[in-house]
């Protein structure tokens, strides 16, 4: 058959290549490209190639809404992958629902959301905040200083962390929110405050370009990460590559994927990735979600035989796939994903040594209000394919 008979399937890609969260969103975009090229190289979807249509919303929430509408209305796209900050996802959901399109969202976030038209492939707090709190409180103590970027994800993450700290009889030494566009001085001031208070650890939900400021400021005031580490949900290999491995060494992150995962699939995907984008390019948890959600989508499209959102929404829930982090599964009822919580500690090469990981996958619990600590040695209790909540 000719290309005329086999028109490509267009997929909208909505990641910023400029603005505050551009570095991590570009990582997600590269993952999307890699997966699409792999799918196309393997023959596409029932003989049809995937065609990615890119837009750059420049980290501005209202532009995500405008551009997703363009993609849907002008480009006739039915499926869009993208968004990073919650404010950007909130901005596009009304548009996606109005046009009955489908959004795949590959970023960990604070939960408390469900849309019929969204599939969430990043971690919810029970898959990263709770394992991190459990690990930190049992290994470092319960006097905690919290610092985050000034938006919803840090507020909600700190609420959960505070509850768990208080449950342990611990103490919150400070809770500071830094504007997303703040400069170096703001971070230095916070670091000085932290150095004076000497907490057992720092809980950081700083995102974007502020991450390197925070870790650099921490080093600048002479704090030792092996005594007082920064524990983060958002500091990934990609941010560490930008700030320098020496600045990051010793700090801790909870995520459902690390580049260092030693599995045949992960090694193979990283090799493909570095062949395509260069030896120095890093992977990270948002990259991995962006990568595996494309393969999930391709699998659903092959089964459904189209890119029609109604057909895909009948196919995606309950679908499983082998991802670089391990086997993942879309929950039938909440559209979030069963993932593998892990705790990593940064080494001198800018990679995470995995110090704790779940025995199997952990279902997402996006509407869980009150959390309890879990056994810190194996950060999850639910075995592979085990009982659902």
């Amino acid at each position: 058959m000719t290309a005329l008979h086999n028109p490509p399937i267009k997929i909208g890609v909505l990641f910023s290549s400029s603005g505050l969260t551009a570095p991590i969103e570009q990582s997600q975009q590269r993952a999307t490209i890699l997966a699409a090229e792999e799918i196309n190289a393997a023959g596409g979807i029932n003989g049809r190639q995937l065609e990615l249509i890119f837009r750059d919303p420049a980290s501005i929430p209202s532009r995500y809404a405008t551009m997703i509408e363009q993609l849907i209305v002008e480009e006739q796209v039915r499926v869009v992958v993208g968004c990073y900050m919650s404010s950007t996802r909130k901005a596009v959901i009304p548009v996606v629902e109005r046009h009955n399109a489908l959004l795949l969202y590959p970023t960990f976030y604070e939960g408390f959301e469900y849309s019929r038209n969204v599939i969430y492939t990043g971690a919810t707090p029970n898959q990263n905040s709770v394992p991190l709190a459990s690990y930190m409180l049992s290994n470092f103590g319960s006097r905690v200083f919290m610092v985050g970027s000034d938006y919803v994800y840090p507020y909600e993450s700190n609420r959960i962390m505070s509850d768990l700290v208080f449950e342990q009889g611990g103490e919150k030494l400070g809770e500071v929110y830094i504007p997303l566009d703040a400069g170096w001085e703001s971070y230095l001031n916070v670091a000085r405050k932290i150095a004076a208070l000497r907490p057992d650890f720092i809980f950081s939900t700083v995102v974007g370009t502020g991450i390197s400021h925070l870790y650099r400021a921490f080093a600048e005031v002479g704090m030792n990460p092996y005594e007082t580490p920064i524990a983060s949900l958002s500091t990934s290999e990609t941010e560490v590559a930008a700030m320098g491995a020496d600045i990051g060494e010793g700090h801790i992150t909870a995520a459902t994927y690390f580049q260092s995962i030693d599995s045949p699939l992960n090694r193979k995907v990283i090799a493909n990735y570095q062949r395509r984008f260069g030896e120095t390019v890093q992977t990270d948890t948002c990259w991995e979600a962006a990568y595996f959600q494309m393969h999930l989508l391709a699998s659903a499209m092959s089964i459904a035989g189209s890119d029609d959102p109604n057909a895909l929404l009948n196919t995606l829930p309950g679908l499983e796939i082998d991802a670089p982090q391990g086997r993942v599964r879309i929950d039938e009822h909440n559209h979030h994903t069963y993932l593998h919580p892990r705790i990593g500690r940064l080494n001198s090469r800018g990679q995470f040594d995995i110090v704790s990981e779940s025995a199997g996958w952990t279902p997402a619990a996006p509407f869980q209000i009150s959390h309890t600590l879990i056994d810190a040695d194996t950060v999850s209790g639910t075995a592979e394919g085990g009982a659902r909540e």
Partner: protein
């Protein structure tokens, strides 16, 4: 409920002349909100993000509750006689829910704002607010009554002890004194309690 009645309640009729303040950004939701409020017939004033004092005669307030504005204080919220507030919310996580509860709302409008539902939200808020006012007024009167009863009881006890009277005689005396002085009985009772306190230290 009576069917087929031609009488529309005054409360519903009044909605068309309401003065509404919408503390909401001028985005898609804000546009929809303003448009529908105007279609309903309300007089709409939109401000964002803060408002130190409500304009005179405001009947209803719509307030966008957003994570980025949780720290904004609205001093008029605490004042007596503040009109009902209808939150407009786009997030449903616990910190935002807590903030919504602080507003003591009767209902809320979820984002994305649709024209459907706003009229009912206003009607519910006005109706419940009026009921709450009536109830508060009634409770206030009951509290006063209860305080009066306590005073009368106390005055009776004083009269019973000092004049060796039965309870009925003490009450009769108190009532007779009140009538003679053309005072409510609780005022008389208060006078007796005070006089007793002065004499009996």
């Amino acid at each position: 409920m009576t069917k087929g009645s031609s009488r529309t309640s005054q409360a519903l009729k009044d909605i068309r002349s309401l003065k509404v303040v919408a503390i909401h950004p001028d985005d898609q939701d804000g546009e929809e909100l303003r448009g529908q409020l105007r279609r309903i017939g309300c007089e709409v004033q939109m401000v964002w993000p803060s408002l130190d004092a409500l304009p005179e005669g405001t009947d209803v307030v719509f307030l966008a509750v957003r994570p980025e504005t949780l720290s904004i204080q609205f001093p008029w919220l605490e004042e007596k006689g503040t009109p009902p507030v209808i939150p407009v919310v786009s997030y449903e996580n616990p910190i935002v829910i807590e903030a919504v509860l602080q507003l003591n709302p009767y209902c809320l409008v979820p984002s994305p704002v649709r024209s459907f539902g706003l009229l009912t939200a206003i009607a519910i808020s006005l109706y419940q607010h009026k009921s709450k006012r009536t109830l508060e007024h009634y409770v206030g009167r009951l509290e006063d009554k209860l305080a009066d009863q306590r005073k009368i009881q106390q005055a009776k006890t004083i009269l019973m002890e000092t004049r060796k009277l039965s309870e009925q005689d003490a009450y009769d005396l108190l009532r007779a004194q009140a009538m003679a002085k053309r005072q409510p009985i609780e005022v008389m009772a208060q006078a007796i309690i005070q006089a007793h306190a002065v004499l009996d230290f």
